[in-house]
């Protein structure tokens, strides 16, 4: 018996086909993985099922009968619940209040009654939450449980989880999996979106693989293995670029001494962070999202001020530097948010010189020919699929990232700060970015790599530091850093 059948789903965003005639079915009581690289179209497919997007073509059947889902409220009525990648809870309200948000049932709210019902549901479904707690006091793992319970509370028979493990440390993943297995026994059907093969192998019954918006296939877990799945997902067995060999380490190029900084809300985000990055090495900074990486990157990029501490690039004191000082000191920056840090409405050529205008002007007048030549050369070297005069915003994420890389790295910076450099990129672009970072290391640059992708950190780094709650939990040489050790540190225990 099928809980969900999606047939021939097509979804276009302008020219991009995010779902290209995708078939998907979910049996009652199974945990079904939706596997695929970033950008494969997993989220899009499930947002269609939940009524957040509308398919351009295709049909959806729930329990065998065709349905029209125009909005999430239609999906909820049909027994579908979704936990999105970005949580939708209101931080200043309690768990119970969040549960009934938009669905109070009557004009007045009886909070006591609701809290009781939530507590009951929490017990019945085996998803432990405290109904009185304010959301903002909860950890990410707990918030996720609230999201799940919220779906169940509204009688979801079908639960969609969009990359639920991306925000969790390994120990929390275990808790989540146990809860899911228990709910499965009670008859819940689950769609589990992921791009982590191990997880999929661990708890799913079947797996549907998407690649570039197209269906690669659906297989039983029992009939497949890691290697085959990897193959289906990326179209080749061997993926990823890795660091080769050890390097003679040079002198310290980037020195961070006991810096403190606050986040947007004014809360302490970095606590006495000290790190040293040497010439010719990649220092990887691992950590679960939201543990101070964003702030550290902003500080090193010159877009955020520290409240105390020191930062040195070689002998240059950058402790109170702004972006122009940082550029002048030879620090190359590949920021987390490339959309915000390039100018979408300017051309590729203009973006490529924006942080080095002085080299392209004579008496204050821009040398158009030189700008054009520079762009054409970099487009060739960095394999950017665009014309020099295209507006930047028309480029794909991968090509935008290449523009950022080209601009930064063509200036041969002595220090490179790379923040989530491959997030949202396809396999080809990811490989490209990673090998470029390795080239910088081999050239002798000091590279600080901040990434939430542990595999990436382990594949590229000579040494690995872990950040948790704004503190550095320890620094390990690559040879000693196992996923297990790092996982523990990412969850907050010292090395």
């Amino acid at each position: 018996m099928h809980a969900v059948q999606m047939k021939g789903i097509v979804k276009r965003f302008a020219d991009l086909v995010a779902n290209d005639h995708v078939d998907f079915d979910l049996e009652k009581g199974e945990i079904h993985a939706l596997l695929g690289e970033n950008g494969a179209g997993k989220t899009t497919l499930m947002r269609i099922l939940y009524g957040l997007y509308h398919a351009d073509e295709g049909q959806i059947l729930i329990n065998g009968s065709p349905v029209a889902i125009h909005a999430p409220r239609d999906a909820i009525k049909l027994g579908i619940g979704m936990v999105t990648q970005h949580f939708t809870l209101v931080p200043t309200l309690t768990v119970a209040e969040n549960m009934v948000l938009g669905e109070t049932g009557s004009f007045t709210i009886n909070l006591k009654e609701i809290e009781k019902k939530v507590a009951e549901a929490s017990k019945r479904f085996g998803v432990p939450v405290n109904p009185h707690a304010l959301i903002r006091h909860l950890s990410v793992g707990e918030r996720q449980r609230v999201e799940i319970l919220k779906a169940l509370y509204h009688d979801a028979q079908i639960l969609i989880l969009d990359e639920p493990t991306a925000v969790l440390v390994p120990q929390e993943v275990e808790v989540l999996f146990n809860a899911l297995l228990r709910l499965q026994k009670d008859g819940l059907s689950v769609v589990f979106i992921s791009h982590h093969l191990n997880e999929v192998m661990q708890i799913c019954n079947r797996v549907t693989v998407l690649r570039d918006g197209k269906l690669t296939g659906t297989v039983k877990i029992a009939d497949t293995n890691l290697k085959d799945l990897a193959n289906m997902m990326v179209g080749r067995e061997n993926f990823g670029v890795t660091r080769q060999g050890e390097r003679e380490q040079g002198k310290v190029e980037l020195r961070i001494e006991k810096i403190n900084a606050v986040d947007k809300k004014g809360l302490q985000a970095l606590k006495d962070v000290s790190l040293e990055v040497r010439q010719g090495e990649i220092l990887g900074l691992a950590g679960v999202s939201g543990n101070g990486q964003t702030e550290l990157s902003a500080v090193l990029c010159g877009t955020q001020k520290i409240t105390s501490g020191k930062v040195f690039a070689g002998d240059v004191d950058l402790s109170s530097a702004d972006t122009s000082d940082v550029c002048a000191a030879g620090v190359g920056r590949i920021p987390e948010d490339r959309h915000a840090n390039l100018v979408g409405e300017l051309s590729v050529a203009e973006n490529l010189i924006l942080d080095q205008m002085d080299k392209f002007k004579k008496n204050g007048i821009m040398d158009q020919q030189k700008i054009q030549d520079n762009a054409e050369e970099l487009i060739k070297t960095y394999n950017i699929k665009a014309n020099a005069n295209d507006r930047l915003r028309t480029l794909s994420g991968g090509n935008m990232q290449k523009v950022m890389l080209a601009r930064t790295l063509s200036q041969n910076p002595r220090i490179v700060i790379a923040s989530q450099p491959t997030r949202g990129l396809d396999v080809g672009a990811t490989d490209y970015v990673r090998s470029t970072l390795l080239e910088q290391r081999d050239r002798g640059a000091a590279v600080l790599l901040l990434s939430e992708d542990l595999e990436e950190i382990m594949a590229l780094s000579d040494r690995i530091a872990v950040i948790y709650g704004g503190k550095i939990m320890g620094v390990l040489p690559a040879q000693e850093a196992t996923a297990e050790k790092l996982g523990l540190m990412m969850a907050g225990s010292a090395a």
Binding site: A14, H54, C301, G302, T303, D322, T323, S324, V326, C327, A328, R333, P335, A340, N341, L342, V343, G344, E345, L346, E350, L354, D355, M357, D358, F360, K361, G364, I365, M366
Partner: protein, 351 residues
């Protein structure tokens, strides 16, 4: 069953150029309702609005006279907007420029034009610049919204003008609220004998060419465009956002000030309360209609100048209130802005 759905889908680039042209017929359709309510024939009205002024030599020249300050306020606003600074205060900066020019013109007695005219230009520019200064500093130092402060500065300068005209500058002979005449050496020369067309329009054209060059060819222009399009992206690239924005704001004020100087030195030869009557606000319409491009600004300033002249023809010939010109102008701004928003959407039929 067929349904229609509104979707986000940005229109291709050439639509942006078409929009101002599309806005004009839409505006006339909308305003014809008001014209009909007033009992006039829309077609005759439009004829007098758009064609009559160009038919006669005198009124055709008058179109350029009306356009002179509009070219400058349009340029001032477009320059600021292009650099991400929302200067709504061209009106006030124009007044400040007019006050400063009047001061120069009444203080410099017996100077030859070769000194007097440049002094008027510098004075007008400095006046507008000074009036733009407080808002600009509040913006870059404290992050105070410039839309609010530049707008408020407009009301202040009106009171300053009133004070001057009813106090120290009141005409001692007639006792009218009007300043003494500026000296002969500071008057802008006439370009066509027995017309009001004056040297100011040459200044306006030069200013437009200069800002076009600065915006599109210089490193300062690239910096200000980057800021206008994405402050964050510009800042990340090491551009000094606050410093650049401060300069943009002050230059914009200065350009608006030139418009005021032109009205004093080329038209009235003294300061009066009604020296502007909304020229600065029209600058916003003109800048928007011209797509913030200096050449677009030039064309739309001439167009608004035509409407302003036409409004007088219409009221003279048909007895329709002269305010119709303002109505058309405001409607045109609203329609243009709406079209700029609407171009990002499309309606699609779904089955």
């Amino acid at each position: 069953m067929t349904k229609y759905r509104i979707e986000r889908a940005p229109a291709p680039g050439w639509m942006r150029i078409l929009i101002p042209l599309l806005a004009i017929p839409v505006t006339f359709l909308l305003t014809s309702v008001i014209i009909l309510l007033d009992g006039a024939n829309p077609f005759t009205t439009y004829y007098h609005f758009l064609v009559s002024p160009l038919a006669g030599r005198v009124s055709a020249i008058e179109v350029f006279v009306k356009s002179t300050p509009l070219l400058l306020t349009g340029a001032a606003v477009a320059f600021a907007f292009k650099g991400g600074y929302w200067n709504i205060g061209a009106e006030g900066q124009l007044y400040a420029g007019a006050i400063a020019a009047t001061f120069v013109g009444t203080v410099l007695l017996d100077v030859p034009p070769i000194i007097g005219i440049p002094a008027m230009v510098i004075g007008g520019f400095a006046g507008g610049l000074l009036w733009a200064l407080p808002s600009a500093i509040l913006k870059v130092k404290l992050g105070v919204d410039e839309v609010v402060t530049t707008l408020l500065m407009n009301s202040i300068v009106l009171n300053v003008t009133s004070f001057l005209l009813n106090g120290p500058w009141r005409n001692p002979v007639s006792m009218w609220p009007q300043s003494p005449e500026i000296s002969a050496g500071t008057v802008f020369p006439q370009l066509i004998p027995r017309s009001r067309l004056h040297f100011g329009i040459i200044i306006a054209v030069i200013v437009i060419l200069i800002i076009w060059f600065v915006i599109s060819r210089t490193s300062f222009g690239l910096k200000m465009r980057a800021i206008g399009l994405s402050k964050e992206g510009a800042r990340f690239a090491g551009i000094k956002v606050n410093k650049t924005m401060l300069i943009v704001a002050l230059v914009s004020g200065g350009i608006a000030g030139l418009a005021g100087a032109g009205e004093v030195a080329g038209i009235h030869f003294h300061l009066i309360d009604a020296i502007s009557d909304g020229l600065g606000y029209s600058g916003i319409t003109i800048a928007t209609l011209g797509g913030l491009h200096p050449l677009g600004v030039g064309i739309s300033a001439l167009f608004i100048g035509l409407i302003d002249t036409g409004a007088q023809t219409v009221s003279r010939v048909l007895g329709v209130p002269v305010y119709l010109g303002d109505v058309v102008q405001s409607t045109l701004l609203l329609v243009t802005l709406s079209l700029f928003v609407l171009q990002n959407f499309r309606i699609r039929r779904v089955n």
